[in-house]
């Protein structure tokens, strides 16, 4: 009977056992490979996450400093010496600017630490007033405890910020050493590194990859320089404009507005929130408040950024679709926190730019070919 069954199914008991064993082994192997792969990726991720930020910042900084280094180098000094000269000049200039902008930087910082809870408390107070007014009009939403929720939330954010400060200070200290070091080597050997990378490509594709790498890196340098210069000017305008008012944190707010201006669409809005909030809490709905609003929205964003800076600095690079910007910010925030939110958008723009450059390159050389074919066909 068993013989009949096995012959009908074409499997002997031994074969079934073998198949079972093979399948089990295959599944086990698959699981093992999968788990080892995930541990490998997580290992490499933890290993490279510490390198990611300094490398990225160094790359950006080297793109910024490159023209200066080349300029100094043209005066017939060696590359290494020119880099040191640029470092000295830029570092000294930055220090002088910092001291000149705010002689009492330290007290400003401690003041800010003391004032932040005050602003938060005042803000929640205002929110409570508004909610009270709302309650009078719409009694049905009384059960919703918005005020206490906001208070809890602000307290949680504040305490988290304070708790993270020592850790981030350590990180910043690490960056202060690593970034100039990496930047130095990028500036000195950047071209050699790129050449070595391109030289690894096969002979048949070498010419195209070499050409594209040149086009993309040139485009990238322009893009990064343009964006940073734009953010710097916007921050400067806001810092100067706010220093005309009685706001105490004009340099800090200008810096914040400049950094957030790196994020398209959403950045400027985030950048103007603290300034407008402080103006509102400190001055009420007076002239200074409205000056702050006009400064942020009309002068910095509309006039300076949209009408002057973007056409001059970033005209060639097409802007990202707003939806893509949101994706980049959300994914960046999920991966690398607040820093990821800031760098997510530039990274996506760089990817987009690369794709566009490759497409234009291919189109440039395809057009005559298709024209030839259309000539031949009749």
């Amino acid at each position: 009977m068993t013989d009949i069954i096995s012959s009908r199914r074409g499997w002997t008991r031994g074969q079934v056992l073998l198949a079972f064993l093979v399948l089990t082994a295959a599944i086990a192997c698959g699981l093992a490979i999968f788990s080892s792969a995930t541990t490998l990726t997580s290992l490499s991720r933890t290993a490279f996450s510490a390198l990611f930020m300094p490398l990225l910042l160094a790359l950006v900084l080297s793109f910024l400093l490159q023209p200066l280094v080349y300029y100094v180098e043209k005066l017939a000094i060696g590359r290494t010496v020119s880099i040191f000269i640029v470092y000295l000049v830029v570092g000294g200039g930055g220090l002088v600017a910092l001291l000149w902008l705010s002689p009492n930087w330290e007290s400003l910082w401690t003041n800010l630490g003391a004032d932040l809870p005050r602003y938060a408390a005042k803000f929640t107070g205002y929110m409570q007033e508004i909610i009270g007014a709302l309650h009078d009009r719409f009694p049905q939403i009384e059960s919703y405890e918005l005020a206490s929720k906001i208070q809890q939330w602000t307290q949680r954010v504040l305490s988290a910020t304070l708790a993270h400060t020592p850790g981030s200070a350590l990180k910043v200290g690490g960056l202060m050493i690593l970034v100039p070091l990496f930047t130095f080597f990028f500036l000195r050997d950047g071209r050699k590194i790129l050449r070595a990378a391109v030289a690894m490509s096969p002979n048949r594709q070498f010419e195209m990859i070499h050409d594209l790498s040149y086009l993309i890196s040139r485009q990238l340098a322009q893009f990064i320089r343009g964006r940073i210069l734009e953010a710097f000017i916007v921050g400067l305008v806001i810092g100067l404009g706010l220093s005309l008012t009685d706001i105490r944190y004009a340099p800090v707010l200008g810096l914040f507005a400049g950094v957030t201006n790196l994020i398209p669409y959403i950045g400027p809005i985030i950048g103007m929130v603290p300034g407008i909030l402080i103006a509102f809490v400190d001055f009420g709905m007076g002239g200074q408040f409205w000056w702050t609003v006009i400064l942020y929205v009309l002068i910095a964003q509309v006039l300076i950024d949209n009408f002057i800076l973007i056409p001059i600095l970033i005209s060639r690079v097409s802007n990202l679709h707003p939806l893509l910007v949101f994706f980049a910010i959300i994914v960046g925030g999920k991966l690398y926190g607040v820093v990821g939110m800031i760098i997510g958008v530039p990274i996506v723009s760089i990817i987009q730019m690369t794709i566009l450059e490759v497409r234009t390159y291919r189109r440039t050389f395809r057009l005559p070919e298709s024209a030839l074919e259309s000539d031949r066909s009749p």
Binding site: H210, D211, T364, F365
Partner: protein, 177 residues
């Protein structure tokens, strides 16, 4: 001298160096030794196997190749797809120079005939040099223009000779009729 020490201090013989090869080319004959050193960092040395395609007709062209060792066959395909050999080039010759300054498609194909070492000079390198080192770039371009105009002159002379030949033939035909 101790063999170990002589080994450490051994330099590549002058004749084998890339700089020597470049300085011997008519294109770069007017460059100073210092400019040759800069050029050395600008070019790309690539090794090809036997019968390896360097580029095909219609490829996007972005630079020229100089033959350091080995040999290269330049050919084009007729409408039937058969290959027609246009030239056979050896060490010291160069090809593809028409695409160096203006982006264009390759007008013919190139393939190696043996294991070959090519030295490539591309438009992007030249543009970078023009930015960082205008003097060297202008010397390079002068050399290139000189060689190109020599070739153009030779070609127009050849064209005139062929025109005359065709004219003579057609006149003799009319005499016959």
């Amino acid at each position: 001298m101790d063999p170990i020490w002589s080994n450490i201090f051994r330099k590549t013989p002058e004749k084998d160096s890339l700089a020597y090869f470049l300085s011997q080319l008519p294109l770069f004959s007017e460059l100073t030794p210092k400019e040759i050193t800069l050029l050395e960092n600008l070019v790309h040395v690539r090794s090809y196997r036997n019968h390896e395609t360097v580029f095909e007709e219609g490829d996007p062209g972005s630079g020229m190749y100089m033959i350091r060792t080995g040999s290269v066959c330049i050919f084009s395909r007729n409408p039937q797809g058969a290959e027609e050999e246009l030239a056979r080039l050896g060490p010291g010759d160069f090809f593809g120079e028409t695409t160096l300054t203006a982006p264009a498609q390759r007008s013919a194909s190139a393939r190696t005939l043996e294991a070959t070492e090519l030295v490539g000079l591309f438009r992007s390198d030249l543009m970078e040099a023009a930015q960082d080192n205008p003097k060297v770039a202008s010397h390079l371009l002068f050399g290139l223009t000189r060689v190109m105009s020599e070739r153009l002159q030779a070609a127009s002379l050849e064209l005139r000779r062929l025109q005359n030949l065709v004219g003579e033939q057609s006149s003799s035909e009319t005499v016959e009729t």
